[in-house]
Amino acid sequence: MLEIKDVMYYYRSQKDKVILNHISYRFEDGKMYAVLGTSGSGKTTLLSLLAGLDVPVEGEICMNGVNIMQKGLNGHRKKNISLVFQNYNLIDYLTPIENVRLGGKEDAIGLLRSMGLDETQSRRNVMQLSGGQQQRVAIARALAGNAPILLADEPTGNLDEDTANEIIDIFSELAHEKNKCVIMVTHSKELAQKADVILTLKKGTVVATEDTALEERV
């Protein structure tokens, strides 16, 4: 369980411009979260803080009740976090299998197969794959580490609608069937609707949380 407690963030050079203003929220396992907001609302900063790529100016981020600073940010990223980016971020001189192995010791070929890539595709240079296939490799790499939290920054931004929907379905499956906590930053309200919870950020504060699962049940 990942929790942000009264987190405040601003750039040291621009103290008057607050990016995140005393935010608190608890992300639970087995759920898929969508973080919505306009550009500059603090979405990516929030994701960076959750990933341990940066540290809040005030407040703390806890993993299972322990401040992530205590065990080190590198360790937090390695053990607890998987990151998926808009531009896939694969190592260009490695094959898909080798890229997945960077993420962890899970069966790389099996993971890639589960993402819809056959063995021939898995052994090509990663740059020879299509955008959708590259994003699937990125997700497979994120899963290889078996981390409980999956953070995705605009994961479908470069994909066509059909492929985007397929990727979101994979995220949903990971949350609901593999009990992962999936936190996805997106601009698309349509895709956000597929998440269990939608957090809307505006000027560094959470202005709305919408439990879509609860609405569906109602």
């Binding site: 976090i81 260009d92 001189y93």
Partner: protein
């Protein structure tokens, strides 16, 4: 995937980068190799006056070592006036330094000569003093009346010798003793004069010549030497300096210990050459090896064989070591700068990769270690290539350096040629006949360590930019 796996894949699959880095490190390594090889290079020189010494060896002072010793003693003496170990310095009123050495500094050491003489196979030894200018007290010297003698010492040259029959000019046939006899080790206070001096002064064997210090003609002690022989110049003796004091006809051969007396240095001789005659010519090379195995301070000497080749234990060209050190320093610095710039350029292109690794939880140190390993892998390949090319490259560079020095020396000689008494004559010119550049295990080891150091420093410096950036900054640059 481990660090090595990632590094090897990066090196093998990013070929353009690898080839460029390989080329840069290869060039750097080749120059570093050359620098270290220069330090151990030996240059065989041939001196016209050193040739035709028969089945014998000649020992003489090493010029580079002489300069080195002067430098060391100068440090010992410090800034003030004074002397140490035969080296003296004095500051003149003008602020310039007057530096001179005495015989004890310049001479071949008798104990070293005796140790070589004891080597099995060495049959005879001759020792020759430096030509010593003294004042002729009771006779006239040969003089060119048309030349202004004001800058000459107005003396004659004494050449002390243990066995005159082994003297270089006698062996070479430049002179011939055709009246009386030559000097032997048993002689004391004897001399052999030229036919010209004998004729000018009406001298005969059995007459006595008197000499004293040319710097104090009036008051210095006068020493007598009996004329035991008269020689006729055949080809003449090549003078070592300009001026009538050194001309062939004014060279007087004496017993070994005589020249130091009228010079005012009794007990402080100046032995310039020692010649060791080999009994069995067939044993020549074996005797040479045995002599070279004698434990003496070889760095002080040049050791010449019968071809006039100098197998010095130290290179003849004193500046070569300084120049090779300079090359090493320059190559190392430029290598660090170039590799550093190349890596900085690549790091800019690898921000994406670094960001990915950081997002996967790798530490910055582990990423830098990968970069270092990549550099070392390429460096190893480049170093192997450089090792293969090093004999050729090193010889080329050493040859170039030696040519430069020879050119400087020639220019110096041309300048000095106009200065009476200070110029060495063209007839005694040293010619370079070969350069030996040995790529020994030490050279390979030192070069390897230097190349590794250059790579490590360059990559570590270029990776500072990674160390100082936050992961988020790298990731934001990447996006």
């Amino acid at each position: 995937m481990n660090l090595f796996g990632l590094s090897i894949r990066s090196v093998l699959r990013k070929r353009a980068k690898t080839v460029l880095l390989l080329l840069i490190i290869f060039i750097t390594s080749a120059f570093i190799f050359a620098g270290w090889a220069c330090k151990s290079a030996s240059i065989q020189t041939q001196n016209e006056s050193r040739q035709a010494i028969g089945a014998s060896f000649r020992l003489e002072e090493n010029e580079a070592n002489r300069h080195e010793r002067m430098g060391e003693l100068s440090k010992l003496v410090g800034e003030g006036n004074g002397g140490e170990g035969g080296y003296y310095q004095e500051q003149l009123a003008s602020g310039d330094w007057l530096i001179w050495t005495d015989n004890s500094f310049e001479t071949l050491l008798m104990e070293d000569i005796l140790r070589i003489a004891e080597v099995d196979g060495v049959e005879e030894v001759n020792i020759t003093t430096a030509n010593t200018v003294v004042n002729p007290v009771n006779f006239e010297r040969i003089e060119d009346k048309d030349v202004d003698q004001s800058s000459d010492q107005r003396g004659v040259s004494l050449r002390g010798t243990l066995r005159m029959e082994l003297d270089f000019d006698v062996q070479k046939g430049n002179i011939e003793v055709n009246e009386g006899r030559m000097v032997t080790p048993e002689d004391t206070d004897v001399c052999v004069v030229s036919r010209e001096i004998a004729d000018l002064n009406g001298l005969q064997v059995g007459d006595y010549l008197e000499f004293n210090n040319w710097k104090d003609r009036e008051n210095s002690n006068v020493y007598q030497a009996e004329v035991i022989g008269i020689y006729t110049p055949i080809n003449g003796i090549t003078p070592i300096m300009y001026g009538d004091s050194y001309r062939s006809e004014n060279i007087i051969f004496t017993d070994l210990s005589f020249p130091e007396k009228p010079e005012g240095n009794e007990g402080n001789p100046l032995y310039q050459y020692a010649t060791f005659v080999v009994g069995d010519v067939n044993e020549y090379e074996a005797v040479k090896e045995r002599i070279q195995a004698v434990d003496i301070g070889w760095e002080r000497y040049d050791f010449l064989d019968n071809t006039g080749m100098s197998d010095t234990m130290k290179e003849n060209f004193g500046e070569l070591e300084k120049m090779s050190s300079l090359i090493l320093i320059l190559v190392c610095i430029s290598g660090v700068v170039i590799i550093c710039l190349v890596f900085l350029f690549w790091l800019k292109g690898r921000v994406h990769e670094i960001g990915i690794y950081l997002s996967l939880g790798r530490t910055k140190l582990s990423i830098i270690a990968q970069m270092l390993l990549e550099g070392v892998l390429v460096g190893c390949a480049a170093f192997l290539l450089a090792t293969a090319a090093s004999p050729m490259v090193s010889r080329g560079i050493v040859g170039y350096l030696v040519d430069c020095q020879a050119q400087v020396r020639t220019e110096d000689e041309q300048l000095n040629a106009n200065m009476v008494l200070n110029g060495s004559l063209e007839g005694d010119k040293t010619e370079i006949v070969g350069i030996t550049v040995e790529i020994s295990g030490d050279v390979v080891f030192l070069s390897g360590v230097s190349v590794l150091g250059v790579i490590m420093i360059a990559i570590a410096l270029s990776c500072i930019s990674i160390m100082v950036q936050k992961p988020k900054e790298i990731l934001s640059r990447m996006s």
